[in-house]
């Protein structure tokens, strides 16, 4: 069943390596149905642009006891 999770995974995969056409094919409703190929390409480019910062962020050291702070 299409879900946001598969949409997210497809975009992240697209940001990493996946060719655009394949990424588009993987993007399910309810989100991707509203996007043109050009718009999806823009999103993929955005994701690619921030991918190094996201990778670095994922390496920021945290321990099991570091709980989230929702304020």
């Amino acid at each position: 069943m299409p879900s946001r999770r598969t949409f997210a995974k497809s975009l992240l995969a697209a940001g990493a390596a996946l060719p655009l056409a394949e990424a588009l094919a993987q993007c399910p409703p309810p989100y991707a149905q509203h996007l043109t190929p050009a718009e999806l390409e823009r999103i993929v480019a955005d994701v690619q642009e921030v991918a190094p910062q996201l990778d670095a962020f994922r390496r920021f050291p945290l321990s099991n006891s570091d709980a989230p702070d929702f304020v």
């Binding site: 989100y31 996007l35 921030v50 910062q53 920021f60 945290l62 304020v71």
Partner: protein
Amino acid sequence: MIDAFSSIEDLGRALRAKEVSAVELARFYIERLAKYGDRLGAVVTITRDRAMAEAEAADRALASGDNRPLLGIPYGVKDLLATKGIPTTWGAEPYRNQVFDYDATVVERLTNAGAVLVAKLAMVELAGGFGYNNADASFTGPGRTPWNTGFWSGGSSSGPGAAVAAALVPFAIGSETSGSILTPAAFSGITGLRPTYGAVSRHGAMALCWTLDKIGPMARSAADCNTVFGAIVGEDPRDPTTARVFPSGRANWVASSVMARAANQRKARIGLVKGSWDHVQPAVRDNFLASVEVLRAQGHTLSEVTYPDLPYGPTISLIVDAEGASAFEDILQDGRAKQLRAVADRTGGFASAATLAIDYLRAQRVRAKIRQALLRLFEEVDLVVSPTRATVAYPVGPNFDEVYRDFRSGPAVIPSMNLLGAPCVALPNGFGENGLPTSIQLNAAPAHDTLAVNVAIHYQSATRHHLAKPAGF
């Protein structure tokens, strides 16, 4: 003859002396809103009928000797605050015809204080949550600073910034998730108070990011901001954060007239953020250093502080992306997000919807580290001070990343202090390129709003930047 640029205190004095009535004052500012509002892209709706009814009630109260400080004072609110029976558009085409049947708590409190709502003011669509990159990001068009209308008034509280700067209203209410009060205050040359997270109820305010959104006053002086703050601060059972985070907000508030007394001037340990003025525009740097000398002359203890090196940018981006995509899930699911004005906003929300839960939670976990580090900084100093923005206002037209490429802020003070939930006052401190204003920001530890305001009020007692008036208004 009414001076549109009068302070709240002076307008109140004129009302109580019967030099002007509340109805006359409301009509006066409504005429200014009608005359200049479109030119500045500052106004969504003039609330004429409500204003007249509230002004008539204020005149009756004044006649009975009521002397509340905001009684009969006109004001505007950013168009993300619900107002009963009046459109609340959130600056965005998909919500253009939205009408609520109740008032936001902030509006309710200002009504109870006797203030007169004259306008719903323009804003960047959805408070900028979908990543706009251009001043033209509202269905009302770009907000323009009255100091030079070829330039932006700042966002996302673009209408409050422009309207207060041009004296279309004596004060306004804005909101900030990360910079949306401070930036328009800086670009429009006015004073903005971002309260401690949880100090002011957000009931009835558009949510962009539940763990970051804050509501605060924007006016021409810190004293006026504080007077308004006194009317809106405090617990509200309809916004549980007000009880959980800052329950003593109302009890801690001190009237501006009391704070302004020389004997009540507080001396603070001020930390100047190292690196925050090294790569900014020359006038921003010069005006900042001149402001520092004013603070030094007033007896504050100044030192340079090294800002903790932590991933503020990715942390706040992931939080805003995830919460923003959730808050506006409806227009992402049905595709109305494509109706947004800014090109970046039409796809930004879809990209945000791809944020993984594990990344969002990681961001909130890193946030805890950030809060610990910044609270340690506030053990060394009382105020953290830097230029508010590295440059003067962006021009209307080009994308933000196409201009001012030689300048940068250094440490990310605005995002980090928002992650902490810290209060801040942004103050005009001179002018730079193209006749545009510059600004300095005074950040205090959470729940120490009064200290930042106290220092700001006394700074403005020794300077005249906040009294400057843009030509042609």
